[in-house]
Amino acid sequence: MELKSIKKHLRPSLKRISEEKTNFFAMDDFYYEEISNLTQAGGWSVDFVNKKSFFDKQARRILKVPDTYIPTLNQSYLFYAEEHMQKATNLFFACAQGESFSAEVKMVTYTKEVFWAKAHGKPVKNEEGEIIGIRGVFQSIDDEKKKELQIEASLDIIEGHNKRLYNFAHIVSHNLRSHVSNLQLTTALFETKNLDQDQKELFDNFSKIATNLDVTLKHLNEIVTLQTNVNKEKENVNIEIVYKRVINSIRQISLQNRVVYYTEFSEVEEFPYVSAYLESILHNLITNAIKYKHPDRDPEINIFTYEEDKKNYLVVKDNGLGIDLEKYGTQLFQMYKTFHNHEDSTGLGLFLTKSQVESLGGKITVESTVGKGSKFTVQL
């Protein structure tokens, strides 16, 4: 019997067997199609031996080719955007030499719409291990890619803005400093002996202005310097030690104001932080609590640490005047905002505190009741 007739003879029986074994849950076209729909991924292949190219249903849909379109290898470059044609060709040739690829390329539909795609390709080998074609999948990632590019572009813009702002702050503080410096020296040299009363008063104004300008500039300097030090390295800081240092430095005003301190640092004693910042944060929050004490009672300040959801917190709670958060909540941490008529208020303390906390990736929040007190919570 000839080979051909044997095959013919066998075929019906093979068919019957496969029909008998029909499994309704087999990996068939259903899954393949659903996956390709869901992922917007189409398949393609090139057969080097028979010189044929193939697009599957989803590929045809993504590339918007007409039903009658027959893909050819010679025309395939037309599906890549001009600037990526070379890249696609290189990947393709490398794949024909046996190198699989996975890349993001700009493709073009049959109707000339450009879109971003993720393309994978693998060589197809025959039994002898020779490469006889390539097949792969490409996925439209246009939406994601566009968003990604947009975010990158906005990031660049923001970075640029930041850099300019930073330079601006530096230039302002530097140039102002030269002028203020001269103004101060001039007032220092000015001979006031021979002035009459009126002129002397006016001159006193000059001196005050010069001094105030200098103070304002010092604040500005602090802020500018703070921005420069963002990359300061964290080290393990002991809160108790920092607390003691702060308390020592404000012993005098604590005594004058009869402040009572309660501390509890046992839950979180040590954590990685910039020591100088912690000291400044604690100093600011404590002196604020004293500055805005209630006139009818001695200040009591509670300072403690705790851990929640693997994050460390520092709390400074007082029984002072309190702040009307509904009215001032949004402005509380802004520069030059003061809410009490207090001559020591510079409107800078909380702004600096917030900047320091945030420059180390933390947060600061406040709860307060007017007449009862405030509670500042720092996420470290």
């Binding site: 140039n175 400093r177 030269s178 001269n182 020296l185 040299l189 500018v224």
Partner: protein, 137 residues
């Protein structure tokens, strides 16, 4: 008249500042001869000229150097002057007097042997007296 310092110099492009410092130095009789250079280049030319002729007396004992200046700034002046390696300069005291509060500048100044200290403007009268009296003591 006895002055604490024979010769000092200011290298600074800010006329008003130079004027004010000159007045203070005069008023307090802190220095006999005061040289003024508007930028690093002018100062460098003078220093190199004077030192090559070995006119030691003409080397300022106190130097107040600004950083931001046209033509040649303070840093360039320092690095050019260092290259000559004049031993006579060891007897001079050099202060950087700048409006810069940039910690980077301060750190940098510490790495330069010629620099004694970094002063931030405004300099006070007391600071100036101290600098000149210390030097003469």
């Amino acid at each position: 008249m006895k002055y604490p310092i024979e010769m000092a110099c200011i290298i600074d492009d800010d006329d008003m500042y130079v004027n004010l410092i000159t007045k203070i130095l005069d008023m307090k009789n802190l220095v006999k001869n005061l040289l003024i250079f508007k930028n690093g280049k002018e100062a460098l030319d003078y220093f190199v000229g004077a030192l090559k002729k070995l006119e030691e007396r003409k080397i300022p004992q106190v130097i107040l150097l600004d950083l931001n200046m046209p033509v040649m700034n303070g840093w360039q002046f320092l690095s050019s002057l260092s290259e000559y390696d004049f031993p006579e300069l060891k007897d001079s005291t050099l202060y950087i007097v700048s409006s810069s509060i940039n910690p980077v500048d301060m750190e940098r100044s510490k790495t330069i042997g010629l620099v004694t200290d970094f002063l931030i403007k405004p300099v006070t009268m007391d600071q100036l007296s101290e600098i000149f009296m210390d030097k003469s003591a």
